[in-house]
Amino acid sequence: MVSRRGFLKSGGLALLGVGLMGGIPGFLAEAAASEKIISPYKKHKTLICIFQRGAMDGLMAVTPFTDDYLKAARPTLFMSAAQSGNNSPLIDLDGRFGLHPSMKVFEPLFREKRLGIVHGIGSPNNTRSHFDAQDYMESGTPFNKGTASGWLNRAVGLLGHDALTPFTAVSMTSAMPRSFYGDNPSVSISNLQDFAIQMRGNPMGANMAAKSFEDLYDQTSSNLLKQTGKESFEAVKMLQKTNIKNYTPANNAVYPNSALGNSLKQIAQLVKMDVGLEVAFAESNGWDTHFNQGAGTGIFANNVTDLSNSITALWADLGAYQDDVTVMTMTEFGRTVHQNGTGGTDHGRASCNFILGNGINGGLVHGNVQPMTTENLEDGRDLAVSTDFRSVFSEVADKHLNINNDHVLFPDWKGDRIGVMRA
């Protein structure tokens, strides 16, 4: 059995090899060496991933509103694109798919072809367990539980250079997400203000302690501690250049006062500080809508309001940095075509996701959603997975971050891309 973890080792060695081994053309070695000492303040492409935990109902977010089967299966949840009474109708995207009205801020981005949607996206593993499905999506190996690393951590290893700054890969979460597990440097932090030596009410004491620590870490015989200590204090200094606490978003962007809004606001700050951020991760919770999901208003509508407003605020705030950033959402699976007995939906299969950026083949609903008949549904009940999530993730990583080693990124996957990014 080929080692599933072998790729980690080989990934690391490949980088080392450039500098150490003979056989490599001198100019390449030089290029590689210079790459390591370039200023961290160089502009980088940044991929921001947002995990919607709990499984978003893709059929309500982006509804195939001409589908009569769906309409019949969802007596109270189905929404129409036609105006009726006081209810806001779906936003008709292309005559077949309608965007939930609470995501109206997405419409201009879609019309400008910056926002793309993939429908029918999901995992080849048909588990309906949140835990397992998230685990598989984040490890990027839908049939292997024991994969030690997450796909975004492997992506960091494939950037083609060492992590240049402490902020190469940042997860705005209190604990390291599964996507970030692995050997490549990454940090999880829920609040950038924590990036400092702290002594409450005693800033001078904090200064002195910081100086002492910097000194001590500089002299230690442990290479690991010495190097990381150095990077830590560099990180602190980088952040102190900006007033993080009193940050004012650009272009009058208003972030929702929510967990996701705060995460994206801080990610925007890092992008604009040019601290070398290349892979960022944030979470959005509350998508497991078994009860009273609501339609035009309610739990689901609130969730998509937060999601779309947070992302749109980020986009506006980024301003001139928009060219460098791609935002991609993901969720572990979709929900049942039929609504259940408590006004909600249960665990299903395929969902949809959103990709925003200037390199996106936008203004389209990608994928291959079939008309919903019992035969077309997976297990006779769920929207079938017609696009493997790895197809989309790998294309976005390739086109945006120039990572094109699928063998390492998604070891077990051999599939085709579907053109979500512009060629």
Binding site: M1, R4, S129, H130, F131, D132, D135, N144, K145, G146, P166, S174, A175, R178, Y181, D183, V187, I189, D194, F195, A196, I197, Q198, M199, G201, N202, P203, M204, G205, A206, N207, M208, A209, A210, K211, F213, D215, L216, Q219, T220, S222, L224, L225, K226, T228, G229, S232, V236, K237, Q240, K245, F291, G341, T342, G343, T374, L377, D379, G380, R381
Partner: protein, 654 residues
Amino acid sequence: MKRTVKYLCSVGLLIFGTIVLSSFFAGNRNGRPFKFPYHQQGLTERQAAAHLLSRFTYGATPGEIDEVVKSGLENWFNQQLDASLPDDSLNQQLAKFDALKLSNTQVVNEYPKNFQVLRMAINAGVVNKDSVKADQKAYRDVLQNYMQQNGMKPEQELFRQFINQKILRATYTNNQLQEVMTSFWFNHFNVSITKNDCAQFIPAYERDVIRPNALGKFNDILLATAKSPAMLYYLDNFTSSAANNDVPPNKGLLRSQLMQNRPDQNADTARRVALMNKLKKAKNLQGLNENYAREVMELHTLGVDGGYTQQDVTQAARVLTGWTIYPIGQYGKLGKDVMAKIGDDRLENQGFVHDSDFLFNANRHDKSEKVVLGKHFGPDGGYQEGVQLLSMLAHNPATAKFISRKIAVRFVSDNPPQSLLNKMTKTFLAKDGDIKQVLITMVSAPEFWSASSVREKTKSPFELAIGSVRSLHASIEQPYQLYNWINKMGERVYYYQAPTGFPDKGQYWINTGALLNRMNFGLALASGRITGVKIDLAALNNHHEPESAQAALIAYSKLIMPERKLDETIKRLTPLLTDPNLAQKVDEASSNKLYAKVNQPASMSMTALDKAIDDNKKGKRSNNVMAMQGTEGSNSMLGQVVGIIIGSPEYQRR
């Protein structure tokens, strides 16, 4: 004068130690004495004791090195292997946690999951199914009332008690090695609270499956984990059953047919009942799940390079079909009633095995013949097939190698020498996977004591936090506060999602964010800013007031990091404490706004450090005792010095 006394003391101790040592001579286990070869590696007995404590405890407490030297290193280790020292005061502290003694059944009944509560409440007519979540607050109140009236508590409370228990036990148990090994095996056979299905069984998993087997035979702990509800849920084996050709093809299809055939739609009742039965059957026979079979080989026994194939995984999964959970608690009442009705005797006759919460369900077992790693299982071998499979895996040379390496990585260094691994592997195979014997072989090897292993491990956040509390003789009133810090430093114990468990290497723990949090943890702990964790720095030094800042630095460095070379640390820190230009430097630093936190209240009272700086500005030497100890513990310079020691690179190593 002082120096002479110290010298005499250490000579005295050395003589005393030698006498004690010669009287016991060496450890003795199963009639075979062992002796630790640290002298050959250039370590003094005290240095050896410090190393021993750094590896087999959660950190030396003040004076513990003396105790170990006094009883003899080998004797101390033997005692730790026996793990039978009384723990009266710890047990007293734990007595208040009423959830810790509950069986899985009691846990399921008393700490039900939210959705279970909801369903029970709906069934009891307390909550109206349709009004659920219409009014969030009212709905929550109703549920809360319902829980209270029925003696149920939120699941979170179970985890809180469980985690508090772990912090207290790791800090205070006298049987430190057993607890260290419990953490080791828990991580090796990882299960995670993040997986909802298995979460509530995790406290009993650690208590009944891991801890009692932590210093036993490998085969026993492997079998115990395989049969535990936590593992059966975590790696999905509870659902795994023979792939049966009689199974209706598509349960999703059945369900949607059922949906379309609701009674209110005038459906044919007979047809509906038939569909229901078919669906039930489909649900019961969901087919093969390979997750456990794969991970038991890759992660628990052989290792990823252990020489098995995908074919072996599938075959092993078939061997383990039917290994599932006996219906538990109120929620499993229906299944339990059925089981009880049939009776254990009759079940046994049909090949079922009911052992506590474990059930071997013969009806779900794949009865045909299988071949794993060349060995044949069945046909019709029943429960024993799985037992034999696990035993075969436990005794495989690849397993001996894999486990020996993992133990050596835990206790020796991130890259243990091959010569040591060979010795341990040999013992593992010769002694039937006896973990005590493997540990003895490891500690009896020169490699354990070599310069390339001493201080070479990086403390995990848990080890750092517990070790600091032990170093400072702190008393813990709110263990969960420490847990929050441990999370912040990057180790959310019991919540690691992947079955690999936390990686055991320094590189994993040390990243920029985590390192800053370690420094902040040191400062917070030593200055008494962690709620519910009390320290008394003066008592730690027997209420001897250090004469100067420098004296304090030396005294406390030695107390907290005994038997370490501290020259460099002290050298680096001394100028900072005594430097007449300290104030200027600090000013510089703060004017650069490098580290300053600006949200300082204007009316803040002058702290000891501020005073020291102020005095410095006025040309006074301020490194005196007053400045060191300050008036309030929270802002004292002494606290700061100790905090810096805890956050220093030297203290991150063990």
